[in-house]
Amino acid sequence: MEIKDIIYSLFFFLIAGVLLVSALGVVFLHRIVYSAVAMILAFLSVAGIFVLLNADFVAVSQIIIYAVGITIVMIFAIMLTGTREDKELWIAKKFRSIVALGSAGLLFLTIIVSSILATFALQQPSDEVIQRLQTEGTTSTIGNALLTTYVLPFEVLSLLLLAAIIGAVVIAIKNKESKSQ
């Protein structure tokens, strides 16, 4: 084992550890705002793992969309719920927690299985490819893929975003109307 692999593993386990701890924090911390902060940390460590996988563009996207975008949405949602006592949000209902745990476990299982399958299915990219990715970054590769192989998903995605905008607007307008009544 070379020293670079040791360092690589060191970083991986460090980041993975932070990720696990903060992810547990999201679930188990009592105050919802603490959970939100732990969530930012979790997102950032996911970005770190992406970097370790040489996926620089995805890592930055992770920060910009999840660590900032989603977090802001979450925090605003917390503010929307107002002054309700934080502790009440602690999972109290047994049924709900069972359902939540069950679905989370199922998701986890799926990911594990699919990643094991993927390990067999995927080929290790050649050193040449890795070399290229490491010097140029992955952005242009992603761009090429988006505009050639995955054109349709790319355009459908804009429709999805359009649907999201319309949904957000409809919710906001509904809220406005109910308030004015």
Binding site: F57, V60, I63, A67, I72, M79
Partner: protein, 343 residues
């Protein structure tokens, strides 16, 4: 996967980030200290006053005195604050700003962190400070802070969008997200600057940048006539100093960013360097950058001395109804220009 073979050189490579960091930290502190003084002096001259003129020759040491004062000030924390988040917030606001300093190309070789997605990362990190501001507002348990924090967040996210889309046009022009590549693409003097094809984008970016650093006319989060001091109302001592440092450091950063993206960065506007010796070219590049950056900063201060501030709803409407369409239009115009240029 790591393409590193470990030699003594590589061990040095793992230690050497310390050096640029010390450089960047010193630069940041120096820049902020100078910037605060410059702002006070320029504002004073614009409003027929003398400005600081007591500490040191011509008041030049005023900011040092202020910094020392802030260091020795008691840090008052209200008993009702959420102490953990209250302490965490200034760090969350300050740290990303400092990292962004490392991403900025000050000269061709003087860029501490040179990444392929550098530009993209700058925006990711700069939007992280928004989270810190919301945390500061929330943890203060103060009405003005909370209102200020929420306003600030709403403002920051609203202006982030036209900002990013304006920057997209630069990515189109340069075909890269690396800061050095972007500068090199406009190295041929004043007429190759990105400012010309993407002029609307330049204006949009300039406005958005002023908004991102909460300066007049977009300083609503800290509008002292309404919200006392916004999200940092409860802060004092060093914690306040960190916010303050981050704010002025951010002002310098956005100026560097505007210069790098639209005004040719560190390159000479003449298209050639006056000096031909490699070592001197380095210094000349730094000179051009500083000259351009301080022109931008002067403009920002000038704007502060001229304009009143907007109202929250006007601020939002301005971003979504004016800047965003402009930025999208700019993107389309630039890509069409680029396309026609290729024919």
């Amino acid at each position: 996967m790591f393409d590193l073979s470990f030699t003594l050189n590589d061990i040095f490579a793992f230690i050497w980030p310390v050096i640029p960091f010390i450089g960047v930290a010193a630069l940041l502190v120096f820049v902020v200290i100078f910037l605060v003084l410059m702002e006070r002096k320029v504002l004073a001259w614009l409003t027929i006053r003398k400005g600081p003129n007591r500490v040191g020759p011509g008041g030049w040491l005023q900011t040092f005195a202020d910094a020392i004062k802030l260091l020795f000030k008691e840090d008052i924390m209200s008993s009702e604050t959420n102490k953990i988040l209250f302490t965490l917030a200034p760090i969350v606001v300050f740290a990303p700003v400092m990292v962004i300093y490392g991403l900025m190309p000050f000269t061709e070789h003087l860029v501490a962190i040179n990444l392929a997605v550098g530009l993209f990362l700058v925006f990711a990190l700069s939007s992280l400070t928004t989270v810190g501001i919301v945390l500061a507002g929330w943890s203060s348990n103060n009405k003005y802070s909370l209102l200020g924090g929420m306003r600030s967040a709403a403002q920051a996210i609203s202006y982030e969008i036209p900002l990013v889309i304006a920057v997209l046009s630069i990515a189109v022009l340069a075909g890269s997200l690396n800061m050095i590549d972007i500068v090199k693409a406009q190295g041929g003097g004043i007429f190759t600057w990105n400012m010309w094809p993407a002029f609307i984008g330049f204006i949009v970016l300039f406005i958005c940048c002023i908004a991102e650093v909460n300066r007049i006319p977009f300083d609503l989060p800290e509008a002292e006539s309404e919200l006392v001091s916004g999200y940092n109302t409860e802060y004092s001592g060093m914690k306040f100093a960190l916010f303050f440092l981050a704010e002025y450091a951010a002002m310098f950063i956005i100026s560097v960013l505007i210069v790098t993206l639209f005004l040719g960065g560190y390159t000479s506007p003449l298209g050639f360097y006056l000096t031909q010796i490699p070592a001197l070219i380095h210094i000349e590049q730094a000179f051009w950058l500083v000259a351009k950056v301080y022109t931008i900063i002067f403009t920002i201060i000038w704007i502060r001395a001229t304009l009143p501030r907007l109202r929250a709803d006007q601020l939002m409407a301005f971003s979504w109804k004016f800047l965003l369409p402009m930025a999208l239009g700019n993107l389309v115009i630039v890509s069409v220009i680029k396309f026609l240029g290729q024919l």
